[in-house]
C-alpha cells in the first residue's frame, strides 16, 4: 500500500512557494522561475499515474522541477551552440522518476555560500510547512515579502492585533524549529 497520496488540488497551497524558492536559488529570473514551477505542476498532473507513493508528493514534484530546470539550461546552452547536458530518461513512463547522469551540475554555482543559503532556505520552508496555513501565510507575507501590516490586514480581513498574535506564534514556532541546526 502506498505511503504517500497525491492530491493536485492542494499543490499550489502546499508546494508553490517551496518550488519557487528552490527554482529562484538556481535561476535568477523570476518570470522564468514562475513558468518552470507552473510547468512542473502541469507535468506532474499529466504523469500522476507514475506516482508510486514511495516518496512524498513534494520530493516527487521536485524531481520533475529539477528536470525542467535542466531542460531550461539545455535550451539556453543549445541556443548558444554549446549544449553540455544530456538526459537519457525522457519517455513519459519515467516522468518523475528522473535519474541523474554523471554530468556537470548546471546549478552548482560552486560558491559555498550559495549552497548554504539554499540549505537554509530549504530548512526555512520545511519549518514553514509545519505551521498552520494561516500562520504560514501571514509570516510569509510579512517576513519574506515585506508587505505592510495594513495591507496584510486588509487582504486577509484581520485586525492589526490579530496579525501580531499570529506573527508572534509563527516566529516562536519558526525559531524553535530552526534552533537545532541553525542558531
Amino acid at each position: 500500500m502506498p505511503k504517500h497520496e497525491i492530491n493536485p488540488n492542494k499543490w499550489i497551497d502546499l508546494y508553490s512557494d517551496y518550488l519557487y524558492n528552490y527554482t529562484i536559488a538556481r535561476i535568477s529570473d523570476r518570470e522564468v522561475a514562475q513558468d518552470l514551477v507552473q510547468d512542473t505542476f502541469l507535468a506532474g498532473l499529466k504523469s500522476m499515474k507514475n506516482f508510486k507513493g514511495e516518496a512524498s508528493e513534494r520530493t516527487w514534484l521536485i524531481s520533475i522541477l529539477k528536470r525542467k530546470i535542466i531542460d531550461h539550461y539545455r535550451k539556453i546552452n543549445s541556443n548558444k551552440g554549446k549544449a553540455e547536458v544530456r538526459i537519457n530518461y525522457r519517455d513519459e513512463e519515467t516522468e518523475g522518476d528522473w535519474l541523474e547522469e554523471r554530468v556537470a551540475d548546471p546549478f552548482d554555482k560552486t560558491a559555498e555560500d550559495t549552497m548554504q543559503n539554499s540549505e537554509l532556505g530549504d530548512a526555512i520552508y520545511n519549518c514553514l510547512s509545519k505551521l498552520p496555513e494561516k500562520q504560514a501565510d501571514v509570516f510569509k507575507m510579512k517576513t519574506i515579502q515585506g508587505i505592510e501590516t495594513e495591507v496584510i490586514c486588509n487582504e486577509l480581513n484581520i485586525t492589526a492585533s490579530n496579525l501580531w498574535v499570529i506573527i508572534h506564534r509563527a516566529r516562536t514556532a519558526m525559531a524553535d524549529c530552526l534552533k537545532e541546526n541553525w542558531f
Binding site: 493536485p8 488540488n9 499543490w11 499550489i12 508553490s16 512557494d17 519557487y20 524558492n21 529562484i24 536559488a25 523570476r30 514562475q34 514551477v37 507552473q38 505542476f41 502541469l42 498532473l45 499529466k46 543559503n117 537554509l120 532556505g121 526555512i124 520552508y125 510569509k140 507575507m141 510579512k142 517576513t143 519574506i144 515579502q145 501590516t149 487582504e155 501580531w164 506573527i167 508572534h168 516566529r171 516562536t172 519558526m174 525559531a175 530552526l178 534552533k179 541553525w182 542558531f183
Partner: protein
Amino acid sequence: MKKQSFLFVSCDEAQHICDKAQYDEASPWEKFKLKIRLSYCKITRAYYKSNTMLTKRIKESKVECLDRASKKNMKKELDKAIKKQVN
C-alpha cells in the same frame, strides 16, 4: 484592571515590542522600554536572542515566495488542467 506602567513593560508586551522591532515597526520609546526589560528579565532576553537570530537567518537565506496574484493565476491554470484531465 492593572494599571500600565510608564516605564516598565510586562514580559508579553516586551515580546510584542521585540516582534515589531524585527520589522522596524517599534517606536524609539518602545525600544527603550524593551531595553529596560532586557536588562533584568531572562525570559525576554532568551526570546530576544532567538527572535533576532530568526530575522538574521531569514535575511541570510534570501528566501523568496510567490505573490498572491501569481499564486491565484497558477491555481486557475492548474484547476483548468485538472478539469480537462477529469473530462
